[in-house]
């Protein structure tokens, strides 16, 4: 059946999330990943910005789930080799290489111990070694080890000069006779989520990579930070194994550079800030960051940047010209552009390069194979009318995550969901297979409690003596089994928990690890698969509520962990098996808000066959988009776009309620009773809130009283009628002021407006704090604006525009950071570039 399956290419976070979203929506999914494990870059990161969440802890449950979900067919070590047909009925050919290790593998590592071949581990970015038989990372999914026959002494089918691994393998899991497989799958639609690679740092000749061992890339540092990485989380110099005293982060290493990568790599500012923060936290005395613009555009990013500054990290505006060995130190030559106008030569103990993100290897070949286009930046081209990056140039093939350009994890995950929503419109039949019946374990009689204590790498074990917690747990009533695990949430450890439950007839489970908010459903899966009622689980959150917050007091932390485990055990004793009931979900959706987000959401839902109601308070759909004439940086005409989106909405069959508000919503999950002000009543199974935000209304710069001061949105309506010669645009009015963060879209709008004004002959001044043109093709437009002669003035980082800039008599006075001078600019029209704030009337 071709009508029920989606092919997803790439098993990083975008591919995994896409697979789970699609599978949970009832589609069959074939997830193809070329490496031996899913997880992608995210699985090799230590912590995520700006929350400092443990990266693998967030991703590992999803990795496990993708392997266990009955709707997902996971093919690792596989690549798509051919595609035929058209949207709705593609036929794909997939080649899967042999793993040479079967599912019987228990990950005991006996084989690794005897394997004589040592090579660099690519999953540690070369910072550590692996054998020819290995597991990429601790939490690899699928779990079985893998043999890399490029390096193995055997060259199947030519056997066997070496049989060390097969000799020691207890379960006989190694099978050199395994063959590559060719598979054919009929699919309705395709999602390409092939991620990104990093620029070869040796191309950056001026930055000294390869000339000094302590010049690292950010990914290499990430592995050093990782508790299960090559240095067990210690920050050590590869040259001498010592802690560096002074570290420099170099941003834009290859990005925003004519010679290598013209675009902004978008993620480097934040991960470098995060790494800098972590190094400070690791006790490194001096941590410096050399930057040009800090692009902290996401939710909570500016706050994290401020926090990092406050922790003592020094931010210096300037791009190093040269990084070279100076004895055992690393000499860096740069100009701090905010502090004098001379070269500074400074020695560092470690230098970390934020290397540019580039299209992943094979992107061009895959584009040819699938018959889809590439953009001028080398990433996949998108054909979305709305400036999004979800739709490829071929019908039925969609894009997600970094396959269309660098993106952070939240953005990749959101895009995956959006791509799935589009891909699902081609899926005709949906099904939710029921897992095979498991013989249920009796929950009657005396509780038999199993306690599993997670190390969480060093997140827990680095602070709390896990063995002491285990010894203590053994003394608690009804505890019949106590076990520790490196990562309890790994796919193989989850299986292990199921096995132990069955073998030891455990009827209550305590997992002493992290937050039930994120991981309770994960561990419930282990109970389910063992045949134990999934509500007989309790979690002791000895990580978030203990080891993370009591790092300085190990004794106290241990005591608290014991108390928490004891409470969990006592709670578990009193738990009763609960039975779930099934209620039908009303197959109707309500979308609140008819801006661009609401329109697209309603269209997608209706196209998937759900009855959909879209409610808009105003007379017209479109929201803020109505006050824009052009959308930067792609130059999309707002009116045309809005017209097309509304047409598509009408075609989708969604019911639109204009000039209407929601009066009441009552009811519960899957069954909400909705009353609208237009008198309509209906039941809705799902509600999408897309109520948007509203433009900031300035009080600064005499706005509202001075006719020569307008907002950027007002400029949109009058840009062709501007009469004055000199126009100044002031960025971040009402944004980035402590109370509100970066509004994310305004820099791009500002550059676009500046360029349009310049092209029609105005003198244009832009007064900014940082230029945040991070969107795809945004940096290119910034460069174009510069070439056209727009003049940029930087006001101080720590200030807000109303303090940094004075306005009087058609003139602006600004302390320009780049010249160190107080400058006076002619300004016939002053444009306040305003961001978005939450709606006051909700």
């Amino acid at each position: 059946m071709s009508e029920d399956r989606i092919l997803i290419i790439g098993g990083g976070i975008a591919g995994i999330q896409g697979a789970l979203d699609a599978a949970n929506a009832g589609a069959k999914v074939t997830l193809v990943e070329r490496s031996p494990t899913v997880g992608g870059k995210m699985s090799t990161l230590d912590k995520n910005f700006p929350t400092l969440d443990c990266s693998i802890c967030i991703e590992s449950p999803k990795m496990s789930e993708v392997a266990l979900n009955p709707n997902v067919e996971l093919l690792t070590m596989a690549e798509v080799q051919g595609i035929e047909g058209e949207a709705g009925s593609f036929k794909v050919l997939i080649k899967q290489d042999a793993r040479y290790v079967t599912d019987a593998c228990t990950r005991c590592a006996e084989c690794v111990n005897v394997c004589p071949i040592i090579v660099k581990n690519e999953f540690d970015y070369g910072m550590a070694a692996r054998k020819a038989i290995y597991t990429p990372i601790e939490q690899s999914v699928p779990g079985p080890y893998v043999i890399d026959t490029q390096n193995c002494l055997n060259d199947p089918p030519n056997l066997l000069p070496c049989s060390r691994c097969t000799d020691v393998c207890g379960p006989n899991a190694i099978d050199f006779n395994m063959k590559a497989r060719l598979l054919e799958r009929d699919v309705a639609s395709v999602i390409v989520a092939t991620g990104f690679d990093l620029l070869d740092p040796t191309l950056l000749t001026e930055f000294g990579y390869g000339k000094h061992p302590d010049v690292l890339t950010s990914m290499e540092l990430e592995r050093l930070l990782q508790a299960s990485g090559p240095s067990m989380g210690e920050i050590v110099r590869p040259s001498d194994g010592k802690h560096p005293e002074k570290v420099l982060f170099v941003l834009c290493a290859g990005s925003r550079d004519e010679r290598l990568v013209k675009y902004c790599s978008r993620i480097c500012c934040m991960y470098s800030i995060k790494e800098a923060y972590q190094l400070k936290d690791h006790g490194i005395k001096e941590v410096d960051v050399a930057y040009m613009d800090i692009r902290a555009f996401g939710k909570g990013f500016d706050e994290f940047y401020d926090r990092t500054r406050a922790s003592g990290v020094r931010f210096m505006r300037g791009r190093p010209a040269k990084v070279s060995p100076n004895g055992s130190a690393i000499r860096v030559s740069f100009e701090n552009t905010e502090d004098g106008a001379a070269r500074i030569d400074e020695d560092y103990g470690m230098v970390v390069l934020a290397t540019a993100a580039i299209p992943s290897k094979g992107t061009e070949a895959l584009a040819r194979l699938l018959g889809i286009g590439l953009g001028p930046d080398g990433f996949f081209a998108s054909a979305d009318r709305d400036g999004g990056f979800n739709t490829s140039t071929k019908e039925g093939i969609f894009l997600a995550g970094c396959s269309t350009g660098p993106k952070d994890i939240p953005d990749s995950v959101i895009e995956a969901g959006a791509a799935v929503a589009k891909a699902l419109t081609y899926v005709k039949t949906r099904s939710w297979p029921v897992p095979a019946e498991v013989v249920q374990i009796s929950t009657e009689g005396e509780p038999r409690i199993g306690v599993f204590v997670c190390h969480c790498g060093s997140n827990i074990a680095g602070v709390i003596d896990v063995k002491a917690v285990m010894d203590f747990a053994r003394t608690l009533p009804n505890v019949v089994h106590v076990q520790d695990q490196m990562y309890s949430c790994g796919a193989s450890t989850l299986n292990d928990i199921s096995g132990v439950i069955r073998d030891k007839k455990i009827n209550r489970v305590v997992v002493s690890a992290c937050s039930p908010k994120t991981h309770y459903p994960t561990f419930q899966g282990s109970l389910n698969r063992a045949g134990l009622n999934p509500y007989l689980l309790d979690m002791a959150n000895i990580r978030n509520m203990d080891s993370w917050v009591h790092k300085e007091d190990r004794e106290g932390a241990l005591q608290k962990a014991k108390d928490m485990v004891k409470m969990s055990v006592l709670r578990a004793m009193n738990m009763k098996a609960l039975q779930t009931m099934k209620f039908p979900v009303t197959q109707t959706a309500l979308v609140v808000g008819g801006g661009v987000a609401g329109i697209v959401a309603a269209t997608n839902l209706a196209k998937q066959g759900f009855e959909t109601h879209l409610v808009e308070r105003e007379e017209a759909l479109g929201g803020v988009l109505n006050s824009m004439s052009e959308i930067a940086p792609l130059g999309i005409e707002s009116k045309a776009l809005l017209g097309a989106l509304i047409e598509e909405l009408h075609e989708s069959g969604a019911k639109i309620h204009w000039s209407t508000q929601v009066e009441t919503i009552t009811g519960f999950v899957g069954s909400y009773d909705v009353h609208l002000t237009d008198g309509t009543n209906f039941m809705a199974g799902a509600v999408v809130v897309a109520t948007g935000a509203e433009p900031y209304v300035p009080t600064e710069f005499d706005y509202g009283r001075n006719p020569n001061v307008v907002t950027s949105l007002e400029l949109e309506g009058m840009i062709d009628k501007v009469t004055g010669k000199n126009v100044s645009i002031i960025s971040c009015v009402g944004s980035r002021n402590g109370a509100s963060g970066c509004s994310r879209f305004c820099c791009q709008t500002m550059i676009n407006q500046a360029l349009r004004l310049k092209e029609k002959g105005n003198e244009v001044n832009v007064l900014y704090k940082d230029i945040r043109t991070f969107s795809r093709f945004g940096e290119e437009e910034y460069e174009k604006a510069g070439e056209a002669g727009v003049r940029f003035y930087q006001y101080p980082q720590g200030s807000v525009p109303q303090d940094a800039i004075r306005m009087a008599d058609g003139k602006l006075t600004v302390k320009d950071e780049l010249s160190g001078k107080e400058l006076e600019l002619q300004s016939d029209l002053t444009v306040l570039n305003v961001g978005l704030t939450r709606r006051k009337k909700q």
């Binding site: 010209a321 001379a342 010249s819």
Partner: protein, 381 residues
């Protein structure tokens, strides 16, 4: 602090003279940090961009050796030396030029040479040599000022004569009729006089009717190739290293084994105007490697990253204060383990010999022409 009014007229004037733009500079400071002469390049660019005259026009403008190291490093790919040139023109218009450079300009005006010397003595370097002067020939050998007058640098020209004679090259020189290429005139920004000079030189070249012009100094090459076409047409111009390398290819030049036997370690310094301006990196190396026994060793900074000697852009005529990149460059040459530091530019030769003395090194500084001349035909070295 009273606010300063930005001078947009000034900014536009600089942009106009800078072949395009100064505005796409995003002020990263790479240029300042890479400048071997410690010129505050970014501040100059800033002054030009937004119209802050005193940042852009200052003494520092004349410290620039126009070596283009900043351009190679610039992530925005900006033609920074064009901006410097435009600013120098403005500065010259305001009579703000270092005295020594101004007297060099006067010398060109009066004696046809920026280098110390008399018009009537320009051809003396060739006395006693078998050279056609001012007569038609297949190739024109053009010396420019320094190699014509400086006794140390005359040896480069004489070496080329020796090589050409030993290999049967039909060439002529202009002798006393030769005039300065006007490189310094261009660097100062005296466009009116440059036109006059260039027109007169183009006329003299026609008199020889040569197929091409072979230069001794890459600086003449630069001005011939990049500026002269505005004033008239001239035959193709090659630096002598390009010409000799072509002879190697055709088997017309076969250097003998070097004095000092096997494994003579030679390092090569890329002159800015030959490398970064002319894109000639491999030909000089090929010449050195064609010499039996020579072992070429590279300095850490080579080819497009080579450090400047400080001589370009009028630098030979300006008293340099503080930064002496030639000293550092000699130290790099010594570190490379070389006994001979070869180069292919008269300015480089003088600056490095001076640098070697200052750092107390016994490294020998030679122009490639001098090295090859000793190893061809029957001539002695």
């Amino acid at each position: 602090m009273t606010a300063q009014v930005v001078d947009l007229e000034f900014s536009r004037a600089v942009a106009g003279g800078a072949n395009g733009n100064i505005f796409s500079c995003y002020q990263c400071g790479t240029c300042t940090a890479v400048c071997p002469l410690n010129v505050p390049v970014r501040s100059i660019m800033r002054g030009a961009q937004v119209g802050i005259r005193e940042l852009a026009v200052s003494e520092a403008l004349w410290q620039c050796a126009t070596c283009r190291q900043c351009e190679v490093a610039c992530p925005r790919g900006i033609g920074i030396t064009d901006v410097i040139h435009s600013l120098r023109g403005i500065s010259y218009g305001e009579r703000k030029v270092p005295a020594k450079l101004e007297s060099a300009l006067w010398r060109v005006y009066e004696e046809g040479t920026a280098w110390e010397g008399k018009k009537s003595e320009r051809g003396r370097w060739a006395e006693g040599l078998n050279v056609k002067v001012g007569k038609p020939a297949k190739h024109l050998l053009y010396l420019d000022d320094a190699a014509s007058f400086d006794p140390r640098l005359q040896r480069i020209a004489q070496s080329l004569v020796r090589i050409f004679n030993a290999t049967g090259v039909d060439f002529a020189v202009l002798g006393d009729k030769e005039k300065s290429s006007g490189d310094e005139v261009y660097q100062i920004g005296e466009e009116g006089f440059l036109e006059e000079l260039a027109t007169s030189n183009i006329e003299s070249f026609k008199g020889i009717g040569a197929e091409d012009i072979i230069t001794v100094s890459p600086h003449s090459n630069g001005v011939f190739r990049d500026v002269y076409p505005r004033y008239g047409s001239l035959p193709p111009v090659f630096h002598y290293t390009e010409f000799l390398s072509g002879m190697l290819d055709h088997g017309l030049l076969k250097p003998k084994k070097a004095n000092g036997g096997d494994g003579l370690a030679v390092t090569y310094h890329d002159p800015c105007y030959l490398g970064r301006y002319g894109g000639v990196y491999e030909e000089p190396r090929k010449l050195l490697e064609s010499i039996p026994g020579v072992k070429l060793s590279e300095m850490d900074d080579n080819r497009s990253n080579a450090l400047c000697c400080g001589g370009g852009g009028g630098g030979m005529y300006v008293e340099s204060e503080g930064a002496r990149p030639s000293h550092m460059r000699v130290s790099q040459a010594v570190e490379s383990g070389a006994a001979v530091m070869a180069t292919a530019c008269p300015f480089c030769v003088l600056n490095f010999e001076d640098g070697a003395k200052t750092v107390g090194s016994s490294i020998k500084v030679r122009d490639i022409a001098e090295i090859v001349a000793g190893l061809v035909g029957n001539g002695g070295g």
